[in-house]
Amino acid sequence: MAPGLEFEKPINELKAKIKELNQFMDEKGIDLTDELNHLKKRLDEVEKDTYSHMTPWDRVQIARHMERPTTLDYISFLFTDFIECHGDRLYGDDAAMVGGIARYRGLPVTIIGEQRGRDTKENLKRNFGMPQPEGYRKALRLMKQAEKFNRPIVTFIDTKGAFPGKTAEERGQGEAIARNLLEMAGLKVPIVCIVIGEGASGGALAIGVGDQILMLENSWYSVISPESAAALLWKDASQAERAAQTMKITAPDLKEFGIVDKVIPEVLGGAHHDPKTQANIIDEYLKDALSSLIQLNGDELVHRRLEKYRAIGDYSLVKGNILSEK
């Protein structure tokens, strides 16, 4: 069983009690079935109640759960014949970004995704899922290749952000991200982007310009991480919980802003409770998205993509000289 989160405490306490009772019954041979059923019913209620009243911060905790399925996990569930391709042909290979070719229900596709580690050792190798410029340039190389061979692109977004490091700056982190935004806007193949965990700022957007943006129910996507927002707003990173609320970073929020096309529901308590079932749910949404996009030709795709991003923004017009009215 996945380790519980703070807000899941009542659930885990009940689970522990049930386990205890079961053991007690086995050991002493006393029939406590009534008590047990009562507790199970109670657990059901508490679970439903807890998971239907999650705060943005609760969701952030789920999105960061060590056992939450990663890009490579979903690749293994959703695709066949996956061949990982390495390197940007310019500098190196970034393990925080994975990519390659595969089949999706028989259809050849290119897959790109940010990859964090599932334990400390892998996290060190994968730089905690924070790509360097070479990661973004590898992604771009593979996306251009996808365009050449007319393959749809599926991206998985899961990052705490582009790596804030000296080497990243020296090699043009800003340019690498910017280049991807520009080029993705012009790719003549379908692009489906799925936010599966954390989606922090430009580091997430750099593989996130697409025709359909899908987002798992408990993932977050924001211009800035809750911690950094709190540090800037209240000079106090421990106010991250408050920032998570203020910044409107959850999947339902982004759906409301029209940034995300569809919110993909998660299994009760979050994807880590049942990765395989979760992959099946994603599968349905991905199938829907790709089967409609595949009907459009390259020019139509680019045109629609441009229109979609062109329309984003919230502003109004002032009439006259507002400054001189003061």
């Binding site: 990243a168 700056e169 520009l182 012009g186 957007l205 924001s222 211009v223 802003f257 984003i312 000289n321």
Partner: protein, 290 residues
């Protein structure tokens, strides 16, 4: 004089308030923040706000940039009536916007329009860090996008002067998406053969560096300008290492292959005019290709 001009050209144009001369030293004397040398404000203005002792480039407002760069009376502003809303219901955001409007004489953190540089017509977007630290929200993204579209429709080049702390936090995900929006329209502009000169001034950071500012056909910068994606303090905390003094300075970027040229302000106008002229036809008939 610029003020009169604004009224003349566009009826709805916002008049920059007399207080808009941020960057221009207040009072008569100004002490250089870099070498501490004291200069007369008038003299400083004559030298385009560059310290004559150490070469420090004072940040300048968008209006000052227009005055020092464009041919007199040639600037026509666009979209001055676009103003920000508060899509996140972010606490105190509208109040902060109002304050900055008063302080800067601007409706938002970028001034867009068209004008002439030594006779060469060009579209322009000039960011101003006196307004919300030059951060990019919906209005900045929209104005820059419209300026690029104008350039595309009228077959003009565009020059974007960046001065920005990055994407604007108070507009959340909508700010982030302005990076995608401006970059997407630049892709179309590039495909149409448009010339885009990115001119980075102090500071150009975060989401602006990670979108249009890095995407010029030519990427220029002012001496000493801070240019980078991640903040210095965050990098130091992450790698637990002290960074060199010149880290993320324009000269550092030039050395690492990220810029075409670092241009002192005294050469700004003539360099831009030369680049613009090279992108027009010229020379003898025999060199014309189409």
């Amino acid at each position: 004089m610029l003020k009169d001009f604004f009224i003349k050209k566009k009826k709805y144009a916002t008049v920059p308030s007399t207080k808009s001369k941020i960057g221009v030293p207040e009072g008569i004397m100004k002490k250089c923040p870099s070498c501490k040398k004291i200069m007369y404000a008038k003299e400083l203005q004559k030298y385009l706000y560059v310290c004559q002792s150490c070469g420090y480039h004072y940040p300048v407002s968008a209006f000052e940039r227009i005055e020092m760069l464009l041919d007199p009376e040639s600037f026509i502003p666009f979209d001055q009536d676009l103003v920000s809303k508060n899509p996140l219901d972010f606490p105190n955001y509208l109040e902060k916007l109002e304050k900055d409007k008063e302080k800067s004489g601007l409706n938002e953190a970028v001034v867009t329009g068209k004008g002439k540089i030594e006779g060469y017509e060009t579209a322009l977007a000039i960011m101003d860090s006196n307004f919300r630290m030059g951060s990019m929200g919906s209005v900045v993204g929209e104005k820059i996008t419209r300026a690029i579209e104008y350039a595309m429709d009228h077959r003009l080049p565009i020059i974007i002067f960046s001065a920005s702390g990055g994407a604007r936090m108070q507009e959340g995900i909508l700010s982030l998406m302005q990076m995608a929006k401006t970059s997407a329209v630049l892709k179309q502009f590039s495909l149409a053969g448009g010339l885009f000169i990115s001119y980075m001034t102090h500071p150009t950071t975060g989401g602006v560096t990670a979108s249009f500012a890095s995407l010029g056909d030519y990427n220029f910068a002012e001496p000493g300008a801070l240019i980078g994606f991640a903040g210095r303090r965050i990098i130091e905390q992450t790698i637990r290492e002290e960074l060199p003094d010149d880290f993320q300075k324009a000269e550092f970027l030039l050395e690492h292959g990220q810029l075409d040229k670092v241009i002192p302000r005294s050469k700004m106008k003539e360099t831009l005019a030369t680049v613009l002229s090279i992108h027009t036809k010229g020379g003898d008939e025999q060199w014309h290709r189409d």
